[in-house]
Symmetry: C2
Subunit: 335 residues, 2 copies
Amino acid sequence: MTMTPTLEDVAKRAGVSTATVSRCLNSPEKVVEETRDRVLSVVRDLGYAPNFSARALAARKTQTIGAVIPTMENAIFAQGLQAFQERLGQAGFMLLVASSSYDPDIEEEQIRALVARGADGLLLIGHHRDPNVYKFLETQNVPALLAWTYQTDRPSIGFDNHAAMQALTERALQLGHKRIGVITAPLASNDRARDRVSGIRAALKAAGHPENPLPIIETDYGISNGAAAFDRLMTADLSPTLVICGNDVLAAGALRRAQERGLSVPNDISITGFDGIELANLVTPRLTTVHVPHRTMGEAAAETLIAISQGAWTGESLCLPTEIRFGETLAPPSN
Amino acid sequence: MTMTPTLEDVAKRAGVSTATVSRCLNSPEKVVEETRDRVLSVVRDLGYAPNFSARALAARKTQTIGAVIPTMENAIFAQGLQAFQERLGQAGFMLLVASSSYDPDIEEEQIRALVARGADGLLLIGHHRDPNVYKFLETQNVPALLAWTYQTDRPSIGFDNHAAMQALTERALQLGHKRIGVITAPLASNDRARDRVSGIRAALKAAGHPENPLPIIETDYGISNGAAAFDRLMTADLSPTLVICGNDVLAAGALRRAQERGLSVPNDISITGFDGIELANLVTPRLTTVHVPHRTMGEAAAETLIAISQGAWTGESLCLPTEIRFGETLAPPSN
DNA sequence: TACCAGTGTGTAAGCGCTTACATTGCTTTT
DNA sequence: AAAAGCAATGTAAGCGCTTACACACTGGTA
């Protein structure tokens, strides 16, 4: 097994010191052209690539940003993350991604792993986590930016889940809906979902609705889960005229099952989503949903994190506007 | 600014040597319980986290696997990658992801970056790339596993794009289709797309079809792109009775536009997809498509890469079976 | 009692880089 | 012609870990 070439190998072969080779690679303007050409051609011949660990150890920075997201399968995060990584790449940063499967313990583990790997900064989803995690990040001096949420007490970049869902619900209530069901992602491990549900409750309360018997079905992400949840909602005593879903995927599943059950949407029943992913426009009829600017958020997150890592940051959280996108799944109740 | 604690800080505070602290962390059974407890409690107090770069440098392995995928936004890769990373995580490996936006130069850059970061192995999508890239990987002694493709000359794990598409096309031809159009991802930068199109051509040839005037529209990933491509296909002289799409997303876009144009699918026109993502089942009517076992592939890829990195690998490429999933978008031509 | 194996720790030599500082050999300047 | 400045390069001290090896102690065993 051949050893992979090191800086020293290059230096020896080019007849210079390791310092000069290092300079050729990192600040070429400090080396006279002749030397530089010679060194670089040796680099090419040997197929030399710098050892990142050694470089990071010596230079004390990694040009790496870590992100822990709940899942990669979710189109929401994928799109934002893609934008995030593109922007990072432009600035010469790499992205380390880990996913937690919505499990706080796994998330903490991943955060520690990313910090250990020398991430210059971290992107985290949502705001709710064990205070020790935040303490740990402070001790380690690793800045963390929260996304998909908006908080004033920590650096964050996202939107107001509560207010957005409240606005959508109010709109629906104005149409006269009284019997309402909710399908949401599991609340225990998902603060965005909780914020959205609290937005629904706030709207109900403001409209003077009885608040107790709000049927809520919690289920994992997935179209078929949305469909199953819809069934459960319909077998409850009260058959709703409006089903508010915590995200578009669940809504798409609910919509499909409604149609399979012979219900006409929105004539017999209204259904709303949240997120505004492409899927919302693809189903028939198109979903009425809350549109979230994912790309913008991802790009802004990258810029913010880079700024933080360079010590140039104002410390302001950013709240992006969301907007209700009207499809054809929301209408006044028929009875 | 407080310095983050090092092994030595812990050692000093616990009154032991750095070697002992290191042992407590990496092979606890070698340290007597009393010492270990003392050390670990100091670790906790100080919020110590090992410096990964230093560890990697000293131990000469990173427990990190890199992956370069064309895009994160694509549900196909997302699902496989999620499975990949889950399996890696179980084995104590981390995943470094980079995306290339389907650009070979960017891909090469990303590969170099991942290698420099000490990836113990790489997951790459597809097989076609500059020979120098493979040479570089060999020089660096970094094993690479190709996925979403099946090749016998290099370690790979995937499926036969050509054969799968050929099978689907043959099936369609048996129904009597004569006028056929194709919508595909850009061929230049995507060997899977090329393989699929060559599968179509092979089927046409085998069935004795004239091969030259096969209208092919190349377009980027995206539902609206699929729709636009469908329009272009229909404005061509020959209006097809069958539109074969290179992936489900393009197919979904084509389907939607067909319906918007007042065409009944599959009565007036048949449309097929490829990939078998959830989307295929969500549209109405459901897509007839080729189903690819993404999770299985992702998991197998993880296991293979771990095996390779531990020197325990048989060297066999793996070809997973695909299967035609019949929805309701394929039927005999009406005229 | 002297010897040994076994166990728990310490010592110290790297791992492959970066970078502050020292050195060399020119040009300029005075 | 000597002093000074400057540009290009070399020297070597780490960065924070892992781990081979050395060492000290224990409790058998001969």
